[in-house]
C-alpha cells in the first residue's frame, strides 16, 4: 500500500509541476482579471499538492513525526506569504509571488530530503528573510532619493568586497564569506544588489562617454576584486550584468560586442594565468578522464542526472549525497536525480518565466533608474540560473554558483528574496503611476478605457 502511494505520488508530482508550469505561460493569454485569478488559484493548489505529496513520501519513507510538524509549518508559512502580499500589496504581481513560493517549496522538499537539520535551519532563515523583505516594496515606494546615491553604493560594494578579499574565510578555494559566531555571511550576495543600484543610479544621470568611463572603472573594480577572491562565478555574473546594463543604458551595440569580446579575451588570459580556471575547463572537457580528482564532482552530477532520467528515482531512492556540495551548487542535480528530468525542465521554465517577467517590468518602467534597476536584477537572476544549471549539466564549465531560492544558504536566499521584493516594489510603483494617470485623465473629464493589470 505504502509502495503504491509512493510510486503514484512520484508521477503525480511530475504531472502537477508540468500543469503548473504550463499555466504560468498560458496565463498571458487571458485578459480578464477573473480568468487570470482562476489560473493563479489553480497554481496555488498545484503547489500545495506537490508539497503535500512530496512530504507524504518523505514521511512514509523516514517515519519521522517531525516531518509532519515541519510540513504544517511550511503550509502555514506559504499560505501566509500569499495572503500577506494580497493584503498589504494588492497591486503586487501574483504570478511572481506564486513562482517565488513554488521555488521555495521545491527548496524545502529537496533540502528536507538531503538533510533534515539543514532544512530546518534554512526554513528559519527563509521565515526571517521573508519578514524583512515584506517591507521592501513599501520602502521602494517611499524612498525617492535612491537614484541619487550612486557613489554611496559603489563605496559600500567595493569596500565590503575588498574586506572579504582580505579578511574573509576560505571555502572551496574561494574567499567568499565572513564568519562570526557560527553565522557565515557572504557579502557578495548583497553587493549584487548595491552593484545594480550603483550602475543604474549613475547611468540614469548621464550616459556620456566620461560617465561611461567612470562607471566602467567602478564596475571593473568590483569584478577584479571578485577575481582576486577566486569567486569566478560571481565575477562572471557581475561582468555580464554590467555589460548588458551598459548596452541598454547607452543604446550602443558596440559597447555590447566590445564588452563581450574583451570578456572573452579576459577569460582566455585567466585560463592561461590561473590553474583553478584550467582545472574547471579540464573537468568540463572530459570529466571521466579525470574522474578521480578534478572531474569527480561533475561526473557524480552527470551520473545523478543520467540515472534519474525523465521520471527520477523517487525521493530517497537515489544517492545525491555522493555529489559534493549537493545542497548548494549541485541542488539541480539532486532534484533531477530523485524527481526527474521533466521536473528539472519545468524548474528551468519557471525561472525563465520569472526572468521574462522581471525584464518586462524594466520595459514598463517610465523612469530610467527604475528601468535599469529592474534590468540589472533580472540579469543577475537569469544569468545565475543559467550558470548553475548549465554547470551541473556540463553545458558550460562549472562556476560554483547557487540556484536562487532553491539552494541551501542564508545569504543566498536572503539576497534572492530582496531582489524579488525590489522587483515587486517596482511593479507596484508602476501600477500606482498608471492609476494616477488614469485618475488625472478621468478628473479632467476625458473618457479613457480602464486598463489596470495584475
Amino acid at each position: 500500500m505504502t509502495n503504491i502511494l509512493i510510486e503514484l505520488s512520484r508521477y503525480l508530482i511530475i504531472i502537477a509541476i508540468a500543469v503548473y508550469t504550463y499555466k504560468g505561460f498560458a496565463i498571458f493569454r487571458f485578459t480578464k482579471e477573473e480568468d487570470k485569478n482562476t489560473v493563479l488559484r489553480v497554481q496555488n493548489q498545484l503547489m500545495f499538492a506537490i508539497h503535500f505529496m512530496a512530504y507524504l513520501i518523505l514521511f512514509l519513507t523516514t517515519g519521522k513525526l517531525d516531518i509532519i510538524i515541519v510540513y504544517f509549518a511550511q503550509v502555514i508559512f506559504l499560505s501566509a506569504v500569499i495572503a500577506l502580499y494580497r493584503v498589504i500589496y494588492p497591486k503586487a504581481s501574483r504570478l511572481i509571488i506564486n513562482h517565488m513560493c513554488m521555488l521555495l517549496a521545491i527548496s524545502f522538499i529537496i533540502l528536507t530530503r538531503l538533510s533534515y537539520t539543514k532544512a530546518i535551519k534554512q526554513f528559519r532563515i527563509v521565515i526571517i528573510s521573508m519578514f524583512i523583505t515584506l517591507f521592501i516594496p513599501y520602502i521602494i515606494k517611499k524612498l525617492r532619493f535612491l537614484d541619487k546615491l550612486g557613489y554611496v553604493y559603489a563605496g559600500i560594494g567595493i569596500g565590503l568586497l575588498g574586506l572579504v578579499a582580505i579578511a574573509g574565510s576560505t571555502s572551496y578555494g574561494a574567499k567568499l564569506s565572513f564568519n562570526f559566531g557560527g553565522i557565515s555571511l557572504q557579502p557578495s550576495e548583497f553587493i549584487k544588489i548595491t552593484f545594480v543600484f550603483c550602475i543604474a543610479a549613475l547611468f540614469s544621470k548621464s550616459q556620456e562617454l566620461k560617465q561611461v568611463i567612470i562607471v566602467t572603472a567602478l564596475a571593473a573594480v568590483h569584478v577584479l576584486i571578485l577575481v582576486a577572491s577566486k569567486d569566478l562565478g560571481g565575477a562572471l555574473i557581475f561582468f555580464i550584468t554590467y555589460t548588458f546594463m551598459l548596452y541598454v543604458a547607452t543604446r550602443e551595440y558596440l559597447y555590447l560586442t566590445g564588452g563581450l569580446l574583451s570578456g572573452t579575451i579576459a577569460a582566455l588570459i585567466g585560463y592561461k594565468l590561473f590553474s583553478h580556471v584550467r582545472v574547471r575547463v579540464i573537468a568540463w572537457k572530459d570529466p571521466f578522464q579525470v574522474i578521480e580528482k578534478e572531474g569527480y564532482q561533475i561526473s557524480q552530477s552527470l551520473f545523478a542526472i543520467g540515472t534519474g532520467s525523465w521520471f527520477g528515482m523517487g525521493l530517497y531512492q537515489g544517492i545525491p549525497d555522493t555529489i559534493p556540495v549537493v545542497d548548494q551548487d549541485f541542488i539541480f542535480a539532486a532534484i533531477v536525480e530523485e524527481m526527474g528530468a521533466i521536473f528539472g525542465i519545468c524548474l528551468i521554465l519557471i525561472c525563465v518565466s520569472l526572468f521574462i517577467m522581471f525584464i518586462n517590468i524594466a520595459m514598463q518602467a517610465k523612469d530610467t533608474f527604475y528601468s535599469l534597476v529592474a534590468l540589472g536584477l533580472s540579469l543577475m537572476y537569469g544569468f545565475q540560473v543559467f550558470l548553475t544549471i548549465g554547470g551541473v549539466t556540463k553545458f558550460i564549465p562549472l562556476t560554483g554558483v547557487t540556484l536562487p531560492l532553491v539552494s541551501y544558504g542564508g545569504s543566498s536566499v536572503l539576497s534572492s528574496l530582496i531582489i524579488f521584493a525590489i522587483i515587486q516594489g517596482l511593479y507596484i510603483l508602476k501600477q500606482d503611476e498608471d492609476d494616477k494617470v488614469e485618475k488625472i485623465k478621468s478628473d479632467s473629464g476625458r473618457k479613457t478605457r480602464k486598463t489596470s493589470k495584475k
Binding site: R29, V248, I305, S309, A341, I348, Q364, S371, T393
Partner: protein
C-alpha cells in the same frame, strides 16, 4: 516561447497606444536582451534533453557510477548467457527473497565472467547496468512497481562459445597460463581462459585469501589473458620479420649460416637448445625460429621504424578493449646496446605483452591487415528474448597493408608446414602460426610456451593465442592445445 514574446509585444503595443507618454526609450535594447537570454536558456534546455536521450545511456554505464547498485533493489539481476545458449551466470531467488548469484560452470569462466559481490569484476562489472535494467513489457513493469515486486533484469548474450571455452579450459589442464580465442574477421572473443582460477560461487568465502594473494605471483584474481605481462619470446619474430620485409623488398634473397649461436660485439645469442640450423633463408629462419638468424636480421633494422610499427600495433598504447587489461610495452630505442637489440629482436629483453594483445596482432594478420576491436557482448535482451541492444563488429583500423598481411600469412603457414608447429600439419584444416619459448627471470632454460595462430583457408577463421607458464617449448606444450581448440571448432562445421 515565441508565442509568449508575441503576447508580450502585443501587450506592449496596446500599452503604447493607450499611453504614449509612458514609452520607455530603451525597449528595443531590452527586447534584444530578452532574446539573447531566452536563446541561451533554449540552448540549455535543448542540451539537457539531448543529454538525457543520447549521452547519459553511455555515461551511466560507467563502473564509477555507484547508482547502478540502487537498481538491485528494484530489479533481479539478469543472466549472462553464452552464444550457444548456455547460462553462465544467473540469480536464483529463494522463497524468503534472498538472492544468490550462481555460476553453473564453476571455475571455467571465472575471469571473463567475474563476480558480482565484493566489488565487481569481468563481464559482471562491464554489463552491470544492463543486467540491472529491466526492459520487460512496460505494463508488466508498472504493475510490478506498484505491487512492490522486483522486475526481471535484462539478459546479456556474450560472444563466448561454451564448447571452445570448455575445450580450451580442459586443454590448459593444471598449468598456469592463459588462452584467448577470437574470430579473425569480427573480433568476437569465443573463449578466454586464465589459470590459476577460483570458483566464483564461493567468492565470499574465498575473498580474504584471494585478496591476500592479490599482489603475489600466483594471484588467482588476475586475468592473465588480459592483465598478464609476458615476454613474447619468438612470437615477437612476427614483428621483426614484418619490419625486415618492409625495409627490404628483396627479402627473398636473404640467407644466413646458422652455427647455433651468433656473437656480435662480445654479445652472444644462442638458438633454442643450441640447435644448429645450417644455411637458412628467411622462410626457414622464421619456420625453424632461428634465434641467430633473427639476431642477425635485427642488428641491421631501423629501430625507430620498428618502434613505430610496434606502436601502430598498440604497444605502449591503450587497447580498444573495454575491460581490465594491462598495456603492453616495447621500450627499445636506437641508442640501445647491441645485446639488448639482439635480445629484443627475438622477443626477449624488456618487451612485455598480454595474450589478448598477441591475439589482436595475429588477428590483424589473419584479417588482411585490419585490426578489429575485440568484444565480448553480442547483444542484450529482455527476459522474454526480445533484443534490447545489439553490438556489431567494428574495425580499429588498418595496421599493415593487405600485401604485407598476405606475405606474413605465408610465412606463418611455413611454421606449421616446415617448422616448429608441425604438429598442426596434415589436418582437415590448415593452420598458420608462430611458436615461442619465452625465457623469464634469470634462470636459463626455463620458459613459457607460446603459440599464436589461425586457420587461413577456412571460411570462418579463428585466432588462438596461448601461453603455458613455465612449461618449456611452445612447440611441445602450446601447439597441442591449439590443435585441440582447432579440432573442436572445425570438427562439426
Amino acid at each position: 516561447m515565441k508565442k509568449l514574446n508575441q503576447i508580450l509585444e502585443e501587450r506592449q503595443e496596446k500599452h503604447l497606444k493607450n499611453k504614449k507618454e509612458s514609452k520607455n526609450p530603451n525597449n528595443r535594447e531590452l527586447s534584444i536582451v530578452v532574446y539573447i537570454f531566452v536563446g541561451l536558456f533554449i540552448l540549455l534546455m535543448g542540451y539537457f534533453v539531448y543529454y538525457n536521450i543520447a549521452v547519459s545511456p553511455n555515461i551511466i554505464n560507467s563502473s564509477y557510477n555507484k547508482r547502478q547498485d540502487l537498481f538491485a533493489k528494484k530489479v533481479v539481476r539478469g543472466e549472462i548467457i553464452s552464444s550457444d545458449g548456455k547460462v553462465l551466470a544467473q540469480t536464483s531467488v529463494s522463497k524468503d527473497g534472498t538472492e544468490t548469484r550462481e555460476y553453473p560452470y564453476n571455475n571455467m569462466y571465472a575471469h571473463v565472467i567475474g563476480y558480482a559481490t565484493k566489488g565487481k569484476a569481468g563481464l559482471e562489472s562491464l554489463v552491470n547496468f544492463n543486467l540491472l535494467r529491466s526492459n520487460a513489457p512496460l505494463l508488466e513493469r508498472v504493475i510490478k512497481e506498484f505491487r512492490g515486486v522486483k522486475n526481471t533484469g535484462d539478459n546479456v548474450i556474450t560472444t563466448l562459445d561454451s564448447k571452445i571455452q570448455e575445450t580450451a579450459y580442459d586443454a590448459l589442464g593444471s598449468h598456469d597460463g592463459a588462452i584467448v580465442v577470437m574470430e579473425a574477421d569480427t573480433g568476437k572473443i569465443l573463449a578466454m581462459v586464465s589459470k590459476p582460477d577460483y570458483n566464483p560461487n564461493n567468492i565470499d568465502q574465498l575473498w580474504d585469501s584471494l585478496v591476500a594473494a592479490e599482489n603475489t605471483q600466483d594471484s588467482s584474481l588476475l586475468n592473465r589473458a588480459t592483465q598478464g605481462k609476458y615476454p613474447p619470446g619468438s612470437t615477437f619474430k612476427i614483428l621483426t620479420l614484418l619490419e625486415y620485409i618492409k625495409e627490404n623488398p628483396n627479402y627473398k634473397d636473404y640467407t644466413y649460416q646458422c652455427t647455433g649461436k651468433i656473437a656480435l660485439e662480445d654479445s652472444v645469442i644462442n638458438c633454442y637448445h643450441n640447435t644448429v640450423h645450417g644455411e637458412v633463408d628467411l622462410y626457414h629462419s622464421f619456420a625453424k625460429s632461428c634465434n641467430s638468424s633473427f639476431a642477425n636480421i635485427g642488428s641491421n633494422l631501423n629501430i625507430n621504424s620498428l618502434a613505430k610499427l610496434c606502436d601502430n600495433f598498440l604497444f605502449n598504447e591503450t587497447l580498444p578493449y573495454s575491460m581490465v587489461y594491462n598495456k603492453s610495452s616495447f621500450t627499445l630505442t636506437k641508442d640501445a646496446k647491441t645485446y639488448d637489440v639482439m635480445q629484443t629482436m627475438i622477443g626477449q629483453g624488456e618487451t612485455l605483452v598480454s595474450p589478448l594483445h598477441m591475439a589482436m596482432i595475429t588477428q590483424t594478420i589473419a584479417n588482411n591487415g585490419v585490426m578489429m576491436k575485440p568484444y565480448l557482448v553480442d547483444h542484450t535482451e529482455n527476459y522474454d528474448g526480445k533484443t534490447v541492444k545489439k553490438f556489431t563488429p567494428s574495425a580499429y583500423g588498418s595496421i599493415i597493408t593487405e600485401e604485407e598481411a598476405m606475405i606474413m600469412q605465408d610465412f606463418m603457414q611455413g611454421v606449421v608446414e616446415n617448422g616448429t608447429a608441425s604438429k598442426l600439419s596434415g589436418q582437415s584444416y590448415s593452420v598458420a602460426g608462430k611458436t615461442g619459448s619465452a625465457e623469464f627471470g634469470n634462470v636459463k632454460g626455463q620458459s613459457h610456451a607460446w603459440f599464436v595462430g589461425f586457420a587461413p583457408d577456412e571460411d570462418s577463421k579463428i585466432v588462438v593465442s596461448i601461453i603455458v607458464e613455465e612449461a618449456g617449448a611452445g612447440s611441445e606444450y602450446a601447439v597441442p592445445i591449439a590443435k585441440k581448440i582447432f579440432d573442436a571448432y572445425y570438427s562439426n562445421r
